[in-house]
């Protein structure tokens, strides 16, 4: 399919778009923490990919190549708009107020305090419920690496939440 798209077959590129659009929105969201910006970024990612797909050497690395473009586009958007991810902004914090809002805010902070590589995994896993196999494909990582990093990232989040007074008891499911 990638090779067909490289040869100018638009329907093949369309199939790639259908397959990877959602993961790219999630990946951009992991950096931008803003759903609208993430969708804009994903649109731009496919515009760049459409123009540059001829330059992709390893067809089997298409998803990882696309993810690289997505990181660059998201980073450019962050810089150009001189924003920090919404999850960390004071404005976002001010919107919360209820216990439920506070809890979500703390969880968001826990996620966006992770290293970029770990945050990507967590957001891909929970944004749209992607399987570990799918995440492994999109990020070009082995499934063992995805599993290991997910475990470590979740451990860090749990630790952060505990430090801030949130436990499974808040959900009644621990």
């Amino acid at each position: 399919m990638v090779e067909a798209a490289q040869n100018g077959h638009l329907e093949s590129f369309g199939a790639l778009y259908e397959r990877y659009h959602s993961p790219m929105v999630a990946l951009a969201y992991s950096m931008l923490a803003d759903r609208d910006l993430a969708e804009d970024a994903a649109q731009e990612v496919f515009a760049i990919a459409c123009r540059d797909i001829e330059s992709l050497k390893s067809k089997e690395r298409f998803a990882a190549w696309l993810a690289g473009i997505c990181r660059n586009v998201s980073r450019q958007m962050l810089r150009a708009n001189r924003i920090k991810p919404a999850a960390l902004s004071d404005e976002h914090a001010a919107k919360s107020g209820s216990d439920c809002g506070d809890r979500r805010e703390t969880i968001r902070k826990a996620v966006w305090n992770l290293r970029e590589a770990e945050r990507e995994l967590i957001v891909l896993r929970f944004f749209d419920g992607f399987s570990q196999a799918r995440i492994s494909e999109v990020l070009g990582l082995s499934s063992q690496a995805v599993n290991g990093r997910l475990v470590r990232a979740k451990r860090k989040i749990a630790k952060y939440l505990k430090r801030n007074g949130f436990t499974g008891d808040d959900y009644g499911t621990s």
Partner: protein
């Protein structure tokens, strides 16, 4: 602590907080919004896909793609109006004048003999008032050659006024949204070929000499790097070299701004990641180490980098401003790049002073 993979509540909490409606995936709509990209892809139909050289996977230039149409639409041509003598049409696209407004592409002489060339998409409104010289710049790229010895020649624009006394200069007015960063950019770029001009607005003024260029943005003072005393001379050289390389699409000259000895050591783990010296994140550095683990030398790295640089000249590059850190060792510029036809992109290259020089550390 309980193993997090067994914490059902944690999964629920993360799903509740991060989980979102599935994004709308609509390829037909995307196609309609990106006709240029679609055309580029479909134009390859029937050709075999080419094999490109090895690339950096994580440090890709993205400034040569995308299109945001900034230029004003061209309108229908009418012949000469009072004081204007059309010299030639450079294209078959229709042009016109409406209340002294002229649209490109075309070249003509004003009543005082000064010559004006409008690029495709450019528009001006000619000033016919007795005893005055000049015009109002409305949109696009305009080249001006002013006849000397006849007094002030003034170009008015929404972002400032350009005053010339016998000179040649180029104006480019940009008003649009960058394709990549979605930033609304409104600016006038001025480049002097011969003589000098004064550019001014309510925020400040700057005299621009031969071969100098500046950018004046809406509600900001004109910015001219050659007159910015905060920028060290060597850094000015580096930035000018970057801009020239991008304008020419010269990947080798572009790459010369990077410190490959340092990057090689980083890949080989001989130095630790430092966000000041490597513009990407630690995760980017890890990816670079993985993808280029077998690179043999700093020279080989430099060659691979040259092959990976995706700059497609000729293009226009405008330096909007430069921010220097308090300790004077780090600099970040804002650039606007794009094709003359109107596609624009924003970028923020960065430099750091280390290993006895200023090196570009991010694109």
């Amino acid at each position: 602590m309980e193993r997090p993979e067994n914490n059902k509540w944690l999964d629920e909490a993360l799903t509740e907080t991060i989980g979102s409606e599935k994004p709308q995936t609509d390829f037909d709509k995307w196609k309609q919004q990106h006709p240029d990209a679609v055309n580029m892809l479909t134009s390859r139909a029937g050709k075999e896909a080419s094999v490109s050289p090895a690339r950096f996977k994580t440090r890709r230039m993205i400034m040569t793609s995308t299109i945001t149409k900034l230029a004003a639409a061209a309108v229908i041509a009418i012949a000469a109006i009072a004081g204007i003598y059309q010299l030639n049409d450079t294209d078959k696209i229709d042009t016109t004048e409406i209340h002294n407004a002229m649209a490109g592409p075309q070249t003509f002489k004003l009543a005082d003999g000064s010559e004006v060339t409008l690029a495709k998409g450019a528009q001006i409104r000619v000033n016919n008032a007795a005893g005055t010289r000049g015009f109002e710049h409305i949109a696009g790229v305009v080249d001006v050659s002013v006849v000397k010895g006849l007094g002030e020649f003034i170009v008015t624009t929404p972002y400032g006024e350009v005053k010339a006394l016998g000179t040649e200069f180029t104006l480019d007015m940009v008003d649009g949204v960058t394709a990549d960063t979605k930033e609304h950019v409104q600016l006038l770029a001025v480049e002097v070929t011969e003589g000098s001009v004064e550019v001014s607005n309510t925020k400040g003024a700057s005299i621009l000499k031969e071969q100098q260029k500046l950018v004046v943005e809406k509600d900001r003072a004109p910015y001219n790097i050659s007159q910015d005393d905060n920028v060290p001379a060597r850094l000015k050289e580096r930035m000018t070299a970057l801009v020239d390389a991008m304008k020419a699409g010269d990947a080798e000259a572009y790459s010369a701004n990077y410190n490959f000895n340092y990057l090689y050591k980083l890949i080989k783990g001989e130095v630790e990641y430092d966000s000041n010296l490597f513009g990407g994140t630690e995760a980017d550095a890890e990816r670079l180490q993985q993808n280029l683990a077998n690179i043999e030398s700093a020279e080989a790295l430099g060659k691979a980098f040259v092959q990976s640089v995706n700059i497609d000249g000729p293009t226009k590059v405008y330096l909007r401003d430069i921010e220097i850190s308090e300790d004077g060792k780090h600099a970040k510029a804002r650039l606007l790049t794009g094709k003359v036809a109107g596609s624009m992109r924003g970028s923020s290259p960065q430099w750091h002073n280390f290993d006895n020089d200023w090196w570009q550390v991010d694109d």
